[in-house]
């Protein structure tokens, strides 16, 4: 096979004397006119952890789907343990010893762990014997790899971290030697991620090969032995992790220099914008999710809310945005805001509260609607969008959308494209543009960069800081501790519906915040 001279550096990092677990030669795959993978060759040494990093849409998932038999490559060869192995379907991949842990788990929620593990690998028409055998195997796997899960637990009752273990167990039960994990930490808490890494290290020590697909540089640096970088369907480099740096990888991924740290001046807090006293929220089941939250944010200040997902951050955002009902006192610019039945997102927007919701695909956008329609949502009553008493001025909305798309760098800048046709980062930019462009007094923003690529992260962070610098108040909720620490002027840590404490990002550290996130007060 020939090397077609890729951009970036091309190195063979995996030493040829080590046995190879996988070798891909010249893999190409197109979807219509889009070339998702372009002549990709890669060597993964047996018993190593190999990272594949790239922005969203770089072709990482496509490549792994080819390896797992979900797609058939247009060209190229797959060698497993040195032997040419065609993989036309998932069954062949499993037979070849490849196991895959998908980003979105492929588990049957109301089955037990045991049932999920044996599904498709029952080893006989009757279940009784298969179950007994699987139970033993699971116990052995749990011992060998620190993968403790109750085999009789129903999956939907398990935490996300445990569900992921079930996925790993599924692969190991099928005697996978090569484990592919697609963005495995996206849904995990920092502690769960650490635990996962310990498990992966254990797997490597036992001779398994692990392929880790991620867009998080920190994970690559922390756990991998070698790393391949993908950009726009091509493999731009494969390097030894210890010979590279996050800065170099980021540059290889994006194709230009990237600022990993957020540049910002010291805050100049002004007048009080938001005062929250004793805010309480119950969920549908009547469980109290916010147990008396009190906080304040001044103009020109970013308050970061750190915490493990599910400790009330979502409810806090929703209560302030008028989505959830609550009790307590909330004042905006000194004027009290009703938290009861009359509250809704519309009235909050009218008061100058903008909201970039945590889950943009469900709360932020209607995925099947066009970008310009999505830009109007929530502000569709704005006078400049009206045409007479009844009609909307669609031309005005479209023109406004084009202008927003330019200023917020939404690509491609086509207002008539459906929201779902944009990449995650560009979807988020649409939401950010809609909410920030109205010049709100208070911006509520949840997980601003979840599932967003590095280039877009940089941009969105800059926008948030810029809004602060114009004297607005920002409430930032994120499960990414890095993000909280680099953006916030003050950090409040939430645990179990309460604020455990407030810290100054300049003087605190991850360990201290981590303890507060785990509910350990000083």
């Amino acid at each position: 096979m020939t090397d077609t001279g890729h951009t970036g550096r091309q190195e063979t990092a995996a030493p040829t004397d080590l046995p190879l677990a996988i070798e891909l030669r010249g893999i190409s795959k197109s979807f219509g006119s889009v070339q998702a993978n372009k002549d990709i060759s890669i060597k993964v040494a047996k018993g190593s952890i190999h990272g594949i990093i790239g922005e969203n849409g770089a072709g990482k998932s496509t490549l792994m789907s080819i390896l797992y038999g979900f797609y058939k490559a247009d060209a190229g060869e797959i060698y497993i343990a040195g032997r040419l192995t065609p993989i036309p379907d998932s069954q062949s991949a499993i037979r070849a010893g490849i196991g895959m842990v998908f980003q979105h788990f492929k588990l049957v929620q109301n089955f037990t762990v045991l049932e999920n593990v044996i599904l498709g690998a029952e080893g006989g028409a009757m279940l009784r014997k298969a179950m007994a055998k699987a139970r033993e195997t699971l116990a052995a796997l749990a011992r060998d790899y620190e993968l403790d899960v109750d085999p009789d637990a129903v999956v939907e009752d398990l935490s996300v971290g445990h569900q992921q273990r079930v996925e790993i167990l599924k692969a190991l039960y099928r005697q996978a030697d090569i484990l592919i994990l697609d963005e495995p930490t996206g849904v995990l808490t920092p502690a769960e991620a650490d635990q996962l890494f310990r498990i992966l290290n254990g797997l490597r020590d036992q001779g398994k090969t692990v392929i880790l697909i991620t867009h998080k540089l920190r994970e690559i640096m922390e756990i991998t032995d070698t790393v391949s970088v993908m950009r726009r369907g091509q493999m731009t480099a494969t390097v030894k992790t210890r010979d590279t740096s996050p800065e170099e990888l980021a540059e290889l991924m994006v194709g230009r220099k990237v600022l990993l740290a957020v540049e910002k001046q010291a805050a100049a807090p002004g007048a009080m914008v938001l005062e929250v006293e004793n805010l309480r929220v119950r969920d549908e089941a009547g469980v109290e999710r916010l147990k008396g939250i009190s906080l304040t944010i001044r103009a020109g200040e970013i308050l970061g809310i750190a915490g493990v997902a599910g400790n009330g951050q979502s409810e806090l955002l929703e209560a302030l945005a008028g989505i959830a009902r609550g009790t307590g006192t909330v004042r905006l610019n000194g004027v009290e805001i009703a938290l009861t039945a009359s509250a809704d997102g519309q009235s909050r927007r009218a008061r100058g509260i903008a909201h970039v919701p945590e889950d943009r695909q469900h709360l932020g956008l209607i995925m099947d609607f066009t970008a310009w329609e999505n830009v109007a949502f929530g502000y569709h009553h704005a006078p400049e969008y009206q045409h007479g008493l009844i009609l909307m001025n669609n031309d005005a909305i479209r023109a406004d959308t084009v202008s927003k798309m330019e200023r917020y760098d939404v690509r491609p800048p086509i207002p008539t494209l459906a929201a779902k046709s944009f990449s995650g980062g560009n979807q988020q930019k649409i939401v950010v543009a809609r909410e920030m462009d109205r010049n709100p007094d208070l911006l509520l923003v949840g997980q601003p960069t979840r599932g967003v690529d590095i280039g877009a992260i940089e941009f969105i962070h800059k926008q948030i800081v810029a809004l602060r610098d114009t004297g607005k108040a920002v409430l930032l909720v994120s499960v990414e501790l890095d993000e909280i620490m680099s953006l916030s002027d003050r950090i409040a840590v939430m645990f179990d519906g309460q604020i455990m404490g407030e810290r100054d990002p300049a003087t605190t550290n991850e360990r201290e915040l981590g303890l507060l996130m785990a509910g350990v007060a000083e």
Binding site: F70, A93, K106, I118, L119, E122, M126, L127, A130
Partner: protein, 321 residues
Amino acid sequence: MDFATLIQILDSTVRLATPLLFACLAGLFSERAGIFDIGLEGKMLAAAFLSAAAAAVTGSVWLGVGAGIFASLMLSGIHGLASITFRGNQLISGVAINFLASGLTVLLGQTWFGLGGRTPPLTGDARFGPITLPFADALAPVPFIGPIYAELISGHSALVYLAIACVPASAWILYRTRFGLRLRAVGENPAAVDTAGVSVNGIRFAAVAICGVLCGLAGAYLALGLAAGFGKEMTAGRGYIALAALIFAKWRPWYALGATMLFGFLEAVGNRFPNIDLGLFVLPSQFMQALPYVLTVVILAGFIGKAVPPRAGGQPYVKER
């Protein structure tokens, strides 16, 4: 109400519940695999027609049953093709099947037999006779147990016993076999089955085929057991009642037995006492006919436990990127 009347009503309950039970289990297999089937009614109707026609022509009740199953399987095949292979809307496909069966049975009946859509009345070996269980006659005079055994348990047609045997068989298949595990998984999360290297469409087609066979039996029983021949629209909404029973049964085989027996009982009472005089007012027979639907709405509203349908139900499976 005396004991003899009660036995009669219960006896009639069993017979009226049988087609519901077949159809309910048919729906159970299909829906547990994620294929909603509103076409139970149409499949029963087509099966009733073709089984009656075949039995009338051949004089054999079992050839009739075979023809009924064949008719139902054909419609199942259409439903499978539309909703599995071509990923069409399952409700629309089901409704189409109901219309198709409703029109086609009458048209073919008129063309073949010229009796205004009816089939010739069946007699003798062309229809199911009662099976007398051992000692039924001997035990009959024994008080209490005698009538229960001789009239309630004994003396039904073969398909009644087959329907009841289908309940433990279905439970066993669903919960004890590899096929059942995969079938339930495919109705909950087909992606899990797909990534495990098992064909989602294969399992779904198998489920739809089982549904076809059971619907065929339901229709055959209507024409060859309950009645003596086919009459226009003779299913009279039983397919929908079976769907209601399926929700009532929360998609579980043993519950399905209970639900269909309850609905059969309501029908039997309605037949026996068209208007129930409660002293203050008279309960019209329509009330009994409506009761299954009312009960289903009550169940759906979550008053008696929660009926959670299979999570992937109604959605065609598309491999995601």
